[in-house]
């Protein structure tokens, strides 16, 4: 490590510029000010107490969890078989399928949101959990698909052959070999879908309504009406949750690399 130059003042400035808007909400959440202001005039946990005792905040928090879990589950249910089919089989229409699976990645969120707003309206799916879950699933598909198919491409098919050779039926090969070996990738993919849904704002603004309002939508509403400092608390919690999610998935990925180092590159 010797001989490395320390980070210069200009670099620090740029880094601070990037991180400041993220981190400014953290001190504000411990503020005693009656409305959002920086720097805080005093410190306390008043707004944390307010957040955790107010059903108008707790309901969206619960909604967000329900929707994120639902979206993650539905995404996995659809994308796991899809990625197996795409990686392991050659069939007519495969290129088109690939394009469609990745489409939500390229389409602007606001366009997608408008589409859902008018389309789900006629299906009576706006302002319902089902509607938001469906929309978030669609948005999570590309990343989950990319994650899973990368893991599948690196999976040594000889492990499955060995399983069959040792007496396991195809179903038991999946249960005892394929799934356990790929489990870290499955967990990372599901976390992706969960975080993506928990984080998503534009589509939620358009279709979640009052009944299925998610946390980001509630924050937006709260800001528009009263600049309620509880927003800083929610933002801090959201930030903490996402960071925990990212760190968690990184840890799983490292574990997966360790686990599979031997399966993928035996020596």
């Amino acid at each position: 490590m010797t001989g490395q130059r320390p980070i210069g003042p200009l670099t620090w400035l740029i880094l601070a510029f990037i991180a400041a808007p993220l981190l400014i909400v953290v001190p504000m959440s411990f503020s005693t000010a009656p409305s959002l202001e920086f720097p805080p005039p005093g410190w306390g946990f008043d707004y944390y107490r307010a957040f955790f005792s107010d059903p108008r905040w707790l309901q969206p928090l619960l909604n967000s969890f329900i929707i994120a879990l639902g979206a993650a589950a539905l995404t996995m249910l659809l994308v796991v078989p899809a990625s197996f089919a795409m990686v392991r089989h050659r069939f007519r229409g495969r290129a088109l399928t690939n394009l469609l699976l990745l489409l939500p990645l390229t389409a602007p969120h606001i366009v997608i949101a408008l589409g859902y707003y008018s389309y789900f309206g006629s299906l009576h799916l706006t302002q319902t959990y089902a509607g938001v879950i469906l929309a978030h699933t669609c948005l999570a598909v590309p990343m989950v698909f990319l994650t899973l198919s990368a893991a599948l491409k690196g999976f040594d098919r000889n492990l499955e052959r060995a399983g069959a050779n040792l007496g396991a039926s195809p179903l038991r090969v999946f249960r005892h070999v394929t799934f356990p070996v790929l489990r870290p990738a499955f967990v990372v993919a599901a976390l992706f879908a969960f975080v993506q849904s928990f984080d998503e704002t534009v589509v939620a603004l358009f279709i979640s309504g009052r009944d299925a309002a998610t946390l980001p939508r509630k924050i937006f509403d709260a800001m528009r009406t009263q600049a309620d400092p509880v927003v800083a608390v929610v933002s801090t919690l959201l930030l903490a949750a996402v960071i925990a999610g990212v760190i968690g998935s990184r840890a799983w990925q490292r574990r997966r690399k360790r686990m599979n180092a031997i399966a993928f590159a035996p020596q």
Binding site: R161, G163, G167, H176, P180
Partner: protein, 369 residues
């Protein structure tokens, strides 16, 4: 027992694993395996030897059930395997990269086939431990594959393939990833295991010395066909084709025309009349005469021992000293010749010298051109 039944039982024993006219094609045109037939008796150690792409691994995969033959049949002890799923075949296999389950300990890897067969838990553990003990890894039972060396992983894979007492053991280039010393040690151990268990074994390799040291018989593959299926010494001394002669061991080829196949006489435009082992070729056909480099002796002018001998002069162009022998490279006429001589025979030879050599008629043979 009647004579007919006796004969039938005999036939069945000789055809324990019976591969009949097997063809494998992926596109309907090119044949990866092109009409392979092999009858392997129970308990025999057979090596599939050949270059990559010769069809040896594809044939192995069809025996294991991971590929379906496009035509032909594979029978084990009289019943066809072709429509049987791989997991119902009761055939053990060691994969080229071992394919150990990375999420299981060595003991769980070895117990896996027993778990799949519904063996009771304590019995699983007992048999897995015994199998690991057989391959000398009793102390490594609780390690994961990533915590084992290549040689140890290889042994776990071997224990796992044998613990359920399969009918046939398949080994797909299992020694390729090991260093030379470990490879030789594993050759001996695999051979020893084969001898003590008496299990019918098929060993795939492209390494001819491995095939030589380990096999009861060698099937030499080339272009999806079997060029020869015989005992190692026969493959070496009497190769059936020029490909076998060139692939197995080092060899010299001289273009000749057969004069008398029964007496083993042929004529070379460069060396003149040559005597060789009798051949099935007809008189007048163009053929190649094969001589191994170690068959040559220095012709010091004294009378040779009893027998029919050939003589020729070789102009020396260079030599490689291996310690136990010296490879001398030269030419007779314009034909390149490789001689393997003892150190004391090679010592006086110098580059650009011409040396007289001789070889015994039985140490050469005629191959169709």
């Amino acid at each position: 027992m009647t004579a007919a039944a006796d004969l039938n039982a005999e036939r069945r024993a000789a055809h324990y694993l019976d591969i009949v006219d097997v063809v494998k094609t992926y596109d309907g045109i090119r044949r990866a395996v092109d009409g392979v037939s092999l009858a392997i008796p129970k308990g025999e150690f057979v090596t599939f030897l050949g270059p990559s792409g010769s069809g040896k691994t594809t044939t192995l995969m069809m025996i294991a059930g991971f590929e379906d033959p496009s035509a032909g049949d594979i029978r084990l002890d009289g019943r066809s395997l072709v429509s049987i799923a791989p997991h119902r075949r009761n055939i053990g296999m060691v994969f080229q990269n071992y394919a150990l389950f990375p999420h299981m300990t060595a003991a769980d890897n070895v117990a896996f086939p027993l778990l799949m067969r519904g063996v009771e838990r304590t019995e699983q553990q007992r048999r897995a431990a015994a199998a690991l003990d057989t391959v000398g890894l009793a102390s490594m039972a609780n390690r994961h594959p990533r915590e084992l060396s290549g040689g140890q992983q290889q042994r776990v894979a071997l224990a796992r393939a044998l613990v359920f007492e399969p009918d046939v053991l398949l080994l797909d280039e299992p020694l390729g990833a090991l260093d030379k010393n470990l490879r030789e040690q594993m050759q001996v151990e695999i051979k020893h295991l084969h001898r003590s268990l008496g299990i019918t074994t098929i060993f795939v390799t492209h390494d001819q010395s491995e095939a030589m040291t380990m096999s009861d018989r060698i099937a030499v593959f080339n272009n999806g066909r079997i060029e020869q299926f015989a005992a190692p010494l026969e493959v070496y001394a009497r190769p059936a084709t020029q490909f076998v002669g060139g692939f197995v061991g080092d060899s010299n080829f001289l273009d000749v025309v057969v004069s008398d196949p029964l007496l083993g006489v042929a004529r070379s435009s460069v060396v003149g009349e040559l005597v060789t082992a009798p051949s099935a070729l007809t008189a007048g056909t163009a053929a190649r005469l094969m001589v191994r480099p170690e068959s040559f002796r220095i012709d010091a002018g004294s009378d040779p021992p009893e027998g029919r001998w050939n003589h020729c002069s070789v102009r020396i162009e260079g030599s490689v000293n291996y310690g136990d022998s010296v490879l001398v490279i030269g030419r007779t006429g314009d034909i390149p010749i490789r001689l393997r001589l003892s150190g004391s025979d090679a010592m006086p030879l110098r580059e650009r010298d011409t040396v007289r050599v001789r070889w015994r008629a039985e140490d050469s043979c005629l191959l169709a051109r």
